[in-house]
């Protein structure tokens, strides 16, 4: 959502691009697309399916933010056994009422470990940061539209 921080320049951008599947609209399945921006790591089977759909449909796929690039804060659970994680969260943790581990067909199954998206698909560009600076989004998208390599200066390559 930090893409929106480019503020009024969004109006210029919208003249040049068309938004496909995004959290801003209700499109469920990505169609053929030039640039795919993917945030978040791979935590569950639904994440993997969505990522593969993006890779199949996007000419350029961009890993956006720390979680997509290295797993980020959710990857802190990689040091802990998944069973222990679930049991502590839903069975034995403090203040739990009606203890049970959620198991509904609507809920995507968790992966054993959290993975950066590089582990599943080829990535063309990365935008580091938590979140990446709005200027970095603008520079990347503008560069792709203009057919040049993006130039992320010191201030636009942040890991935090």
């Amino acid at each position: 959502m930090s893409l929106l921080d480019i503020d009024e320049r969004l109006l210029d951008l919208i003249e040049k691009v068309e938004f496909g599947r995004s959290p801003i609209n209700d499109i469920k399945v990505p169609g053929a697309c030039d640039i795919g921006l993917v945030e978040g790591g791979l935590c569950n089977e639904d994440n993997v399916r969505t990522l593969n759909e993006f890779r199949e449909n996007c000419s350029i796929l961009v890993a956006v933010g720390a979680c997509a690039i290295n797993g980020g804060v959710p990857a802190l659970r990689n040091e802990i056994d998944l069973k222990d994680c679930l049991e502590t969260s839903y069975l034995t943790g403090v203040g739990i009422v009606d203890a049970q581990i959620p198991n509904d067909s609507e809920l995507p199954l968790l992966l054993d470990k959290v993975h950066p998206i590089f582990d599943a698909v080829k990535i063309d560009y990365v935008l580091p940061g938590c979140p990446p600076p709005a200027e970095a989004f603008l520079e990347l998208v503008t560069a792709v539209i203009e057919g040049r390599e993006p130039n992320l200066g010191y201030q636009l390559r942040r890991f935090d």
Binding site: V73, A75, V126, D160
Partner: protein, 242 residues
């Protein structure tokens, strides 16, 4: 180049760097204001030569400049594309070897590993992340040891031995299991004589050794490497900035 015996110098990336007898290439370069990337070197401690970020090329060989004795015949290359690419891969390997979650780290912005990544245009880890399980140590009243972030540079080990005359730390284990040990019978930091004022407690280049009440005291924008790269600012701890 003619050799001036009274004022000896060597060439670093084509520039003359003066040195005094016994200095290493790293010491002479830093004295002359030429930055060579490094993480495990500290001017007040014995060189360790382990992080390999300070590699330079001379006579078609790579040397760690922190252990390479300066001499008048040296022609050293440091800022080349090939060497900086190797340095970037070294930093990437350090990132994937530990658990370096910058967004949740108190030391982000002050961290020399992170600053080195910025310096070398690193954007991602490149290699497969290992996500090792490492033991944390909160047994000390004033100092927290977060081994997830430790890069085994031994700065605290050397500072404790050479500066504090205490020998609080050592490296144990082998290969990927190498880890920082607290030298007490229990293995806990709280049972060592480490004091919050010790050099060893105030030298960590990453967020592995943190003084408890000093986290988040500085806003992000005022941290050491927020505006300025490590090659301009040097390897500094937050309190060493004017």
């Amino acid at each position: 180049m003619t050799i001036d015996i009274k004022n000896p110098s060597f060439l670093l990336d084509g520039e003359e760097v003066p040195f005094t007898e016994g200095q290493t290439v790293m010491e002479a370069a830093l004295t002359a204001g030429s930055y060579i990337p490094h993480l495990c070197f500290h001017p007040e401690l014995q060189a360790h030569g382990s992080c390999r970020l300070c590699i330079v090329e001379s006579d078609n060989r790579l040397h760690a400049s922190c252990t390479l004795q300066a001499n008048s015949r040296l022609k050293v290359s440091s800022q080349t594309q090939a060497i900086n690419k190797m340095r970037k891969h070294i930093v990437q390997m350090l990132f994937v070897e530990g658990n370096h979650i910058c967004p949740s780290c108190e030391f982000s912005g002050n961290c020399q590993l992170q600053a080195m990544a910025y310096e070398l245009d690193m954007e991602e880890g490149h290699f497969h992340f290992r996500y090792p399980k490492r033991e944390q140590d909160a047994s000390h009243n004033d100092i927290f040891l977060d081994r997830d972030r430790c890069i085994n540079c031994e700065l605290c080990v050397r500072a404790s031995r050479e500066n504090d005359a205490k020998n609080v730390f050592s490296l144990g284990g082998r290969g990927t299991e190498t880890h920082l040990c607290a030298n007490s019978a229990s293995g806990k930091l709280g049972d060592t004589s480490l004091d919050v004022s010790d050099k060893a407690a105030n030298i960590c280049p990453v967020g592995a050794l943190l003084i408890n009440d000093q986290s988040y005291v500085t806003p992000k924008e005022d941290r050491v490497y927020y505006q300025t790269s490590i090659s301009l600012r040097g390897n500094r701890r937050p309190k060493e900035i004017e």
